[in-house]
């Protein structure tokens, strides 16, 4: 995935209405009319939001009989989950290094006089 594609996804998901639409689509496909229901927006405005999501590859409207349902592209959401999991793992690695630092602090606090063995200082 190129960074342009990524920024398009970020931009598409930056809007609260679009995020909400995506959250609702994660429960299942919906028609444009169903999607529009909870919002005080014109259908044109809804189509505009959908276009941004489609262009970013977040949703698609597979060809077929009308009304065509809007579908979430699972791949994009796997990607999101992956980002979150990697971020979490990175934090976990950081905190394991912090564990080590804390253990050293404990040792130093435990030994009133730290050992000088092998120290050239």
């Amino acid at each position: 995935m190129t960074s342009t594609a990524l920024s398009r996804i970020f931009a598409a998901l930056a809007d609260p209405t679009r995020r909400d639409m995506v959250a609702r689509l994660s429960a299942g496909d919906a028609t444009v009319n169903q999607l529009a229901e909870p919002y005080q927006l014109t259908l044109q405005a809804i189509y505009k939001h959908l276009k941004v999501l489609e262009d970013a590859g977040v949703v698609s409207r597979p060809p077929g009989p009308q009304p065509r349902p809007v579908r979430l592209e699972a791949e994009v959401f796997d990607l999101m989950d992956k980002w979150i999991e990697r971020y979490r793992r990175q934090a976990e690695e950081r905190y394991r290094r912090l564990d080590a630092v804390l253990a050293r602090m404990n040792d130093e606090a435990g030994n009133g006089s730290p050992e000088q063995k092998g120290s050239a200082a």
Binding site: F10, E93, L102
Partner: protein
């Protein structure tokens, strides 16, 4: 006492926030020191594979900080302010100098669990979902997989 549950994370769907939680075999005072003493902080902040050099560090309410992480001659600067520093809570801003318009607001809580254990909770609020998601995705670019090497090194040196 040695088994510690891994870090938990939550990316809030309604506000551009990342929340994390992790328990430590340490007192709140020790955890606080590891976050405010620049020498200790530089030893663990990472990311792995990078050397961190603390350039500026005044961990007091109203103070500021700046550090530079280096890998293969490439430098990444980070800076911010310590909005409030107290034993149970630190509030600070966080900016990657490569994207100076993006400022995240971080809050850290040190919760005493008793028996020499402490829960660290963190919350990072970005100024847009775009920024928040870019932070989340940045883990991919930094190259996380080399991660455990540094820990193994520390174990090998008897530091764990």
């Amino acid at each position: 006492m040695n088994t510690i549950a891994e870090t938990t994370i939550e990316a809030d769907p309604k506000v551009p926030v990342i929340r994390m939680s992790r328990d430590f075999n340490a007192t709140p005072e020790q955890l606080f020191r590891a976050h405010t003493d620049p020498e200790l902080f530089a030893q663990w902040v990472g990311p792995s594979g990078m050397q961190t050099r603390v350039v500026e560090w005044d961990a007091r309410t109203g103070g500021s900080w700046r550090y530079v992480s280096t890998r293969d001659g490439q430098e990444f600067g980070f800076r911010g302010c310590f909005h409030e520093v107290r034993p149970d809570r630190i509030v600070q801003t966080f900016t990657w100098e490569g994207q100076p318009d993006g400022v995240a607001l971080g809050t850290l809580w040190f919760e005493d669990l008793g028996n020499g254990r402490t829960r660290l909770r963190t919350q990072s609020l970005s100024d847009s979902f775009e920024d928040r998601d870019a932070w989340l995705a940045s883990g991919m670019k930094v190259g996380v997989d080399e991660g455990y090497a540094k820990l193994e090194e520390m174990i090998a040196h008897g530091n764990v």
